[in-house]
Structures are given as structure tokens and as C-alpha cells.
Symmetry: C2
Subunit: 155 residues, 2 copies
């Protein structure tokens, strides 16, 4: 667990800082030849959960970065609900992960790049918990580039 | 793993048979004082995955019956995709589980009772994979009664 004091910085800087850490998680996925998506959960300037996509290694389509970050955050906090926490994830969450976030009641989701096709936003339904704020586009280019390069190599 | 031959029976009987097994999973949840929802995954008359709600024990809101049944089915089959499989679940899946089913490409979802408030159907969005057929209302009364009794005791 790390502690950062952002009292004297602005919210955007804070989000960029944490998105870089989510990107570091995505790099771990890339190093294992997994689709490079990473996530962290932050609560009161503490990183309480981390995760990166491991669907291939676990042979499990549910092993998304966000799912693992939620699960690890709940273990760290010792409670199921992530009220007061922020999920940082490099790519817009899918329906499954948006649905999981509903159950966690996470206070905020910050994502990097849009995922027009598989992301939950295009479903045009209120899938997030009413208490969850959503912000997108933080380091979007870096987050998207990781994905683009990964899939370019696969083709 | 069990094997049943339904060639000489009708599809409804087959669904009722398997829903009873999903109900048996729900009973396991009830025995652990968990919200009583159970699920199984069936592939070519073989049960390849099972699960019941364990959100309290695991302190994890993602530990729904369906999620565990999907994960265990993938391990049994040795592949991530559940094409040709049917998910039987006692209660209409939530958004998270519907989203997970999308990634599995499960061929069929059969649920027992509707879940008007937290089920995915009320979201009025195409959350399932286009290849996934949906059937509801199999042993709906039994499935709903388990839930009703559980929550009545909690109040």
C-alpha cells in the first residue's frame, strides 16, 4: 500500500498520477501477452486494490483487471463496499465490470480510453450505481496506444 | 460430472431437471446464510460447472452463483468459451452476470424467477451475446420462494 498526499495538487493531477499506476498494471498484462488493461482502486490516497487482465492465464473470461481490483480492494478494506473509493482503469469498463461496480457502490470510476464496441457506455442504459461518478479520457492516448500496439502485433 | 440422457424426453422436462439441480446449489447457499441463488452449467448433458452465491463468505460482491459456475465450467472444459453450454440459474441474472455471459458466449441461459429490480432485463439493453438464447420461468415459484423466505427471516 502506498500513500500520496494530494491536498496541494489539483484533482486532474491526482487522476493522472493514479492512471499512470493503472497503466503500470496494464504493462504487466502486456508482459504476459494478455490484452493490456490495468486497474487500481484508491481509497483516501491509498492504493487498496490492483489488477490486470489475466483472461488467458486463468482461462477465464471473467478475469478482467477491474474484477480483480475490486476483489483485492474488498480484501484490503475488509468490507464488500467500496464507498469512498475510486477505480482507475485504462480502458472503459465492459458491461460485466460496470455491473460489478454497481454492487461495490464504488464512488468514482476514472477510465483512460473509450471502448466504443465492448464498453458499457454504448449500451445506453444506467448500469452504474447512482452514487458512482464517471470520468473518462485521462491519459486516453497512452491507454489506447497500448491496446492498438497489442492488437497490431496479433494480426 | 453427471450424465443424463434426455433424448426421449421433451426440452421442458430437461430444463426442469437441471433447474432442480440449480435449486440444490441455492440450498447450499441458504445453508450458509447466503442469499439463496444457485447455478449450474450443462454441456451435452454433462454438468461442467456449479456455483452458489458466496458474497458474504468471500466478502466479495462479485462471488455470484453464475460467475462461479462460469469459471468452473471453463476449467472443466479447458476453454474459455461456453459455446454449446446452457447456464441454469434460479434467479434472473444481474447486469454483471449477464455481461460475464456475453464473454463466455454461452449458448443458452435458463433462469427460474424474475428479478425485477436488479435483473438485467429491466435495463432494456442488449446485454447478452447475440448467440445466447434466453428462457425464463422454469420452476419460478420454487426459486422465488427460497428468496422470499430468506429475506422474510432477515427482516
Amino acid at each position: 500500500m502506498s500513500f500520496y498526499n494530494f491536498e496541494n495538487t489539483n484533482p486532474d493531477e491526482e487522476d493522472i498520477h493514479y492512471m499512470k499506476l493503472a497503466l503500470a498494471e496494464a504493462q504487466k498484462a502486456l508482459a504476459e501477452d494478455e490484452i493490456p488493461i490495468g486497474a487500481i482502486v484508491v481509497c483516501k490516497n491509498r492504493i487498496v486494490g490492483r489488477g490486470y487482465n489475466l483472461t488467458e492465464r486463468f482461462n477465464d473470461v471473467t478475469a478482467h483487471a477491474e474484477m480483480q481490483a475490486f476483489t483485492s480492494a474488498a480484501q484490503t478494506i475488509g468490507g464488500k463496499y467500496l464507498t469512498g473509493c475510486t477505480l482507475y482503469v485504462t480502458i472503459e469498463p465492459c458491461v460485466m465490470c460496470a455491473g460489478a461496480s454497481y454492487w461495490t457502490q464504488v464512488s468514482r470510476i476514472v477510465y483512460g480510453a473509450r471502448e466504443e464496441k465492448r464498453g458499457f457506455i454504448s449500451k445506453n442504459a444506467n448500469l452504474l450505481h447512482p452514487k458512482t461518478d464517471l470520468k473518462g479520457g485521462v491519459l486516453a492516448d497512452e491507454c489506447a496506444l497500448l491496446m492498438k500496439n497489442f492488437f497490431a502485433k496479433k494480426r
